[in-house]
């Protein structure tokens, strides 16, 4: 086949909603875009362990502590599934880490915000995981097989994450006055960054069309954001919390909620590295990786020694 006919074949698989698998021919840009998208998602899971992880030792009950541990651990698992999916595209996990640590690769900017009170564990589960799920469910049908399969696993596990977050919020909102205040404060702080998680408006997102065409993005940023606003407003009513947006109102004509302007300047700055915790998060990851090097080397050295001994024993026999 010529490159041209390879391309035609690839296009026809995409059009017929047939999965692309690792050994299939694929255009370079498709491969590159996927690597960027999947590794970015994996990095987000790993960096995302930190803001919640720092509350594990402080969780207010043994049940909450166990749940939080399991949840943060799941995020490590999700990172692992996603790194594995990216590895099928010909990049190693170590290379992806290098890109993260050097600042070349991005991760979701939401994790550059601090977790200040216990209610933040609720708000993250409810809003951040809620937004993530909205993003991820359509990706279970992404065109790249290993990615779609990883997303199926992630979504299956993620469903408890949002629920446990909502349960924390509900307990606080129905608790004492001060607990309700704690919940509202967390809601206020996490709401806008959550909306930013869907990325810049469609008009400023030039790659969306290509990604939608490739079926590695199924809905646009604005579509997903709107969906998220619509469901969250209803959930906030159940909690009895106020929406942190004075411009929010139901638009009969559109059948959706209108919402206030997002501060895209803030978004751009946090992406650029000027968020409250960018430096701290990246440093923590780098430190864990560097301090783990001797451990990883030791395991490898031991495995090699054992192999060598086995060969030697076989030879002697």
């Amino acid at each position: 086949m010529t490159v041209h006919s390879f391309q035609e074949h690839f296009d026809s698989l995409i059009d017929r909603e047939i999965s692309i698998e690792p050994k299939d021919w694929m255009p370079d840009d498709y491969r590159k875009t996927l690597i960027r998208q999947i590794s970015q998602h994996a990095h987000s899971e790993i960096v995302g362990m930190l803001p919640e992880g720092n509350w594990i030792t402080r969780a207010p009950s043994l049940r909450r502590k166990a749940v939080l541990l399991a949840k943060v651990q799941d995020e490590a698992g999700h990172g692992l599934y996603l790194y594995s999916a990216a590895e099928t595209l010909g990049i190693s996990r170590d290379e992806m880490y290098d890109q993260l640590h050097s600042g070349k690769a991005k991760y979701s900017s939401i994790f550059n915000y601090p977790t200040l009170t216990w209610a933040d564990m609720g708000a993250i589960g409810w809003l951040v995981d809620g937004a993530a799920i909205m993003n991820q469910v359509p990706l279970c049908r992404a065109s790249y097989g290993p990615y779609a399969r990883a997303m199926v696993r992630v979504c299956k596990e993620e469903s408890f994450h949002q629920r446990q977050g909502f349960e924390i919020m509900l307990t606080l909102a129905k608790g004492t006055e001060i607990q309700k205040k704690m919940a509202q404060d967390a809601f206020n702080r996490w709401w806008w960054p959550s909306l930013m998680m869907f990325g810049p408006p469609d008009a400023e997102s030039p790659n969306t069309a290509q990604s939608v065409r490739w079926r590695i993005k199924r809905l646009t940023n604005d579509e997903l954001r709107q969906k998220f606003v619509d469901v969250t407003v209803e959930q906030a009513k159940v909690l009895g919390l106020d929406m942190p947006d004075k411009d929010l109102k139901w638009n009969e004509e559109r059948g959706h909620y209108d919402f206030g302007a997002i501060d895209w300047e803030e978004f751009k700055n946090v992406v650029k590295g000027n968020g409250p915790c960018n430096k701290q998060r990246l440093e923590t990851r780098k430190q864990a990786w560097e301090e783990g090097k001797w451990v990883r080397d030791a395991a490898m050295a031991h495995a090699e020694k054992r192999n060598a001994r086995k060969k030697e024993a076989a030879k002697a026999a």
Partner: protein, 275 residues
């Protein structure tokens, strides 16, 4: 001490061991040397937390069933005393979150800091090996609740021991650096291992009734396991016999205070609330 107080002391000590190590291992979550073992260590932490809860629930049940006159003076913290004075029944969280250090009976070994992977592995290895033989014995306890908890815990401890033993071998027989780190972790933590086998009044009383474990009988098995793994790992078994103690009596190292500060701060700052 009365019989019920012995059993309570015993249950609490096992719960405290599980909680303090669970808390320490939880600190690793998100900071492990490689994703796969970040996940693995958290699985272990979750096992310890699960056992913590079962044991505190059982301890709370025991306490709540005690006659009122026996309840005074069992715990030192004002927060718990106030709660008891309102004749409220205690739950697992009250026991974990409202006691002060001198009411905690965990061994000193488990409150030692994580330091590095070698320390963490050595600490777990000493304790996992102990748990493996301890729960195998406790499974036969005359106390049904403890026996049931032991049965479940033995399965977990079997895997924990396998996992930590393999890491001891990997680090001990890995690179020069890992060997040095493993050996020094073992050397420094060794003096905390003796306490695992100290028998006090509680142990003696409960061992006689077939409820508690005869610690002297599991010590040689523990020692044999430790030395055989060390041998495979090219690690020298320390010869010093001077051992630290005090945890079982509520006399701790400086580390416990900081653990409790983290653990308990929300319950202390906003008392009496549901979370």
């Amino acid at each position: 001490m009365s019989n019920s107080k012995y059993l309570l002391d015993y249950t609490l000590r096992l719960a405290d061991d599980a909680l303090i190590l669970g808390q320490r291992l939880g600190e690793w979550c998100g900071h492990g040397p490689i994703l796969e073992h970040d996940i693995a260590l958290t699985n272990t932490a979750l096992d310890h937390m699960g056992r913590t809860r079962s044991l505190y629930q059982y301890a709370a049940e025991q306490f709540n069933n005690m006659p009122a006159e026996d309840k005074t003076g069992v715990f030192t913290s004002i927060a718990l005393q106030n709660l008891i004075n309102t004749s409220a029944s205690l739950d697992e969280d009250n026991l974990a979150y409202l006691r002060d250090g001198w009411d905690f009976k965990n061994v000193l070994l488990l409150e030692q800091p994580n330091n590095d992977w070698a320390y963490t592995i050595a600490r777990s290895f000493f304790y996992d090996a102990f748990n493996y033989f301890f729960f195998a014995a406790l499974e036969k306890s005359a106390d049904e609740s403890l026996a049931a908890i032991a049965e479940k815990s033995l399965k977990e401890a079997t895997y924990h021991l396998r996992w930590s033993s393999e890491w001891v071998v990997r680090l001990g027989d890995g690179t020069e650096e890992s060997h040095t780190r493993m050996q020094s972790a073992v050397n420094e933590l060794w003096m905390y291992t003796g306490e695992l086998f100290i028998e006090n009044e509680t142990d003696n009383a409960l061992a006689q009734q077939g409820i508690g474990v005869d610690l002297a009988s599991i010590k040689p098995m523990w020692m044999e396991r430790i030395t055989s793994v060390f041998e495979e790992a090219n690690i020298n078994t320390p010869q010093n016999s001077w051992m630290q103690k005090g945890g079982r009596e509520g006399r701790h190292s400086e580390h416990l205070g900081y653990i409790l500060t983290d653990l308990q701060f929300l319950q202390r700052t906003y008392p009496g609330m549901q979370w």
